[in-house]
């Protein structure tokens, strides 16, 4: 009986699995985004010859390296969040919610005011946001109590 109860408690809602899959997809998107500028600027081919700064300003090579690094950090961040998420840690829920919130602000700003946004990221953000808002997901991460009350 006790074992069964524990099993029940540990059972992940389907939304958690969906989020985990989306995070994995996002990880590969970020990895692709981190490789793309390196390839476009042929950074790896000229790794020993091209300089990153010129007159205190980033060169196109430097910009590509910086962009690549930023996306790589995002990808690593996603893996850390994924681990916390699969272990159903509260901080990972909070971090992910804040992250997708920020990402959607960037996406919407891009859409309304600047260039073409990254729709793949937008779709994945929406999926994650809705999935994180599910009451059973919030309950399992200790964001809501069992009675459905908000316990924040």
């Amino acid at each position: 009986m006790g074992k069964k109860k524990n099993k029940m408690r540990e059972k992940r809602p389907i939304a958690v699995t969906v989020i985990a899959i989306v995070i994995v997809v996002l990880f590969f998107v970020r990895i692709y985004q981190s490789i793309k500028p390196l390839v476009e600027e042929a950074v790896l081919r000229n790794i020993y010859t091209a300089s990153i700064f010129m007159d205190g300003v980033l060169t196109p090579h430097g910009q590509a390296v910086l962009k690549s690094l930023l996306y790589l950090i995002l990808a690593i961040g996603l893996i850390i969040v994924l681990l916390g998420f699969l272990k159903m840690r509260r901080w990972s829920w909070v971090f992910l919610m804040a992250w997708v919130g920020f990402s959607m602000v960037v996406g919407l700003e891009d859409y309304f005011f600047f260039s073409e946004p990254n729709y793949v990221i937008m779709v994945s953000d929406v999926i994650i946001a809705f999935a994180l808002s599910q009451s059973d997901v919030q309950r399992i991460f200790g964001i809501r109590s069992d009675t459905g009350e908000n316990i924040l």
Binding site: V94, G101, M104, F113, S133
Partner: protein, 612 residues
């Protein structure tokens, strides 16, 4: 039956005045309160009488110098839509206003009667309620309102009258209804300074408040059973507390204690600070949209309810100021009133300035018998129904009524025990007859009639059996109740209350002082930031505003320790917005995908039918 030995009592032969005095409430005000229950006759002599006509004209009917209580009740025929009103403070010039405000400040310092707001109401709500509050303040510019100078002048005028003759008056009324003896205590105030003095919702000249006590008679004595205090947003059963409910009703030597709201004078059972919520007036279409959004948010998205149009106002009923009544240094001067009291029954107008406020918050109230529109007040003509007590008999009568009811049901059950077999027998006889008529075509007419009769008797029998079952269950419940009443076991004193006024707990702020400062300046900072955007980066005005607003909301949530809740809400709203964008951009793909899914689903169903 409940014992009455622990209750204060008074002979049922006592005069009305003695009855009122025996149980007169002790009212405790908040430090900083400027107006206390006053004598209407003296007040009236300080007023002028006016008429506001439907075409917007206003006419002075009686000048202040000529004003008396007799003059007030003189009948003045007028066209429909005319509003008669008193005016306590005449229109002030700019210099008079400045002088009144300066003298008010001096007076408060002299009396050491300064109100300490503590944790401000704005810090108790979130950022969006503060935006709504700013809109509410702006709405006051468009609605009619009583000016701060009027409030100051009223305070000075009241203080002058109070100094001449310090008296604390209540107007008492005794009514006998349905076995109850009802004591009503009406308190008149020259001014309601909730907004100007205590950051509340409204200000208006004059104010009427009321406390009602309900007594029952037992063996020649009257005992108090319920106390009902008039308060904001509460009606019926929620207004009353049982006399023995020590958790909710304080008593001092058999006198109930009332904690009056600062400026609003609303009455509370417990001392503390009450959060009154006012909803920003919205046009009908916006209200509909707001309801639809709430439904979508709470039911479809299963999110906790929140209303940004809610403005938190605090009613401070701290009870740390002046006390009037039993055990206090200030005593009451009671005055009896009833329908024969001319100023109460013959004057249908307002007891102070008609500020032309369409939502009435700033208009003065009418007297104890009437509403602002001249219709009779339910609390006056139906004091039992006012507190939801019209369905409750007085305790000694309750036992008798319950016993009578039980006996009635029992005798009906006895009757049913005889009736049901008779009816069942009749039905069987009819059934036999019907059987005998079958297969005889020439008896078809009689057969049909008999069939009809059988149906009727069958229905009657079913009803009788159902009645017996229902009565059995009813009797079981009533008998239990009877035993409970006989044994003297008291009911839960809160069982009748649906919504209870509870003082707000001190909000747990992470950085209380910083949060308070932030609450005071954040809205202005937001406006400055927007101004900066307009000036320095006009190309990014909308994008910048969205980012600034989100940053402010998040900063607020950190201050209030509600970061997770806020981030969850903001992200969900952004997700909805992003979904709309995606829907607009990819509607063709989404439609095609949905159609393909539908096609696959239908095909799978049909194929399953084929294979099985």
């Amino acid at each position: 039956m409940k014992t009455s030995s622990d209750r204060p009592s008074i002979s049922s032969k006592s005069t009305d005045l003695d009855l009122l005095r025996r149980f007169e409430p002790l009212v405790k005000y908040t430090k900083g309160e400027q107006f206390f229950p006053f004598d209407v006759e003296r007040y009236v002599t300080e007023c002028s009488l006016w008429a506001h006509y439907p075409d917007g004209r206003e006419e002075l009917l009686v000048r202040q110098e000529e004003m008396t209580i007799e003059n007030l009740v003189t009948q003045r025929p007028a066209t429909f839509g005319t509003i008669h009103f008193l005016r306590f403070i005449e229109t002030l010039s700019l210099s008079e206003s400045a002088q009144a405000l300066a003298e008010q400040s001096r007076l408060r310092r002299k009396l050491h009667n300064q109100f300490n707001v503590g944790m401000g109401r704005l810090a108790r709500g979130g950022f969006l309620p503060r935006v709504a509050d700013a809109l509410f303040s702006l709405s006051l510019l468009m609605r009619g309102k009583v000016s701060p100078a009027t409030a100051a002048a009223a305070e000075l005028a009241y203080e002058k009258m109070h100094q001449e003759n310090e008296k604390y008056t209540y107007y008492g009324r005794v009514v006998h209804q349905n076995g109850w003896t009802v004591l009503q205590y009406w308190y008149f105030f020259c001014y309601n300074s909730w907004r100007s003095g205590f950051h509340g919702v409204n200000d208006h000249e004059s104010d009427w408040e009321m406390v009602t006590l309900y007594l029952y008679e037992n063996e020649g004595y009257l005992f108090p059973e319920w106390a009902a205090f008039a308060s904001h947003d509460f009606h019926g059963d929620d207004l009353r507390r049982r006399w023995d409910d020590r958790e909710q009703l304080d008593l001092v030597n058999g006198h109930p204690v009332v904690y009056a709201g600062a400026g609003s004078h609303a009455s509370y059972f417990r001392q503390g600070e009450y959060q009154a919520e006012v909803f920003l007036p919205q046009p009908g279409w916006l209200g509909g949209l707001s309801r639809a959004w709430n439904k979508f948010w709470t039911q479809t998205l299963a999110q906790p309810e929140s209303n940004p149009f809610r403005i938190p106002f605090v009613d401070f009923a701290r009870g740390d100021g002046l006390g009037i009544g039993e055990g206090e240094s200030k005593i009451w001067s009671p005055v009896l009133i009833d329908e024969e009291t001319p100023w109460a029954s013959l004057y249908h107008g307002l007891w102070g300035l008609f500020a032309r406020d369409p939502v009435s918050g700033e208009n003065a109230p009418a007297g104890p018998i009437y509403n602002r529109d001249g219709s009779p007040r339910s609390s006056w003509y139906d004091p039992l129904g006012f507190a939801g007590l019209d369905k409750t008999p007085p305790p000694p009568l309750a036992l008798k009524l319950l016993e009578e009811n039980c006996n009635e049901i029992r005798s009906r059950q006895d009757e049913l025990i005889t009736l049901i077999p008779q009816k069942a027998n009749e039905l069987q006889v009819l059934g036999m007859k019907l059987k005998g008529l079958e297969d005889h075509p020439h008896l078809a007419k009689i057969y049909a009639l008999l069939q009809k009769r059988i149906n009727t008797v069958g229905e009657e029998l079913r009803n009788l059996r159902r009645e017996r079952m229902e009565n059995g269950a009813l009797l079981q419940g009533m008998t239990q109740r009877l035993e409970q009443v006989r044994s003297g076991v008291a009911d839960n004193p809160h069982a009748h209350i649906q919504k209870m006024a509870v003082p707000v707990e001190a909000v747990e702020m992470r950085y209380a002082r910083a949060a308070e400062t932030w609450a005071a300046i954040s809205l202005s900072l937001l406006v400055f930031a927007i101004a900066g955007l307009v000036f320095f980066a006009p190309a990014y005005i909308w994008a910048g505003m969205a980012v600034i607003l989100i940053l402010f909301v998040v900063a607020e949530s950190i201050m209030r320790g509600a970061f997770i809740q806020t981030i969850s809400r903001v992200t969900l709203i952004l997700a909805l917005l992003t979904s709309v964008v995606l829907l607009i951009e990819f509607w063709k793909f989404i439609l095609v995908a949905l159609l393909i899914i539908l096609g696959i689903f239908l095909m799978a169903q049909r194929l399953r039918e084929l294979t099985h």
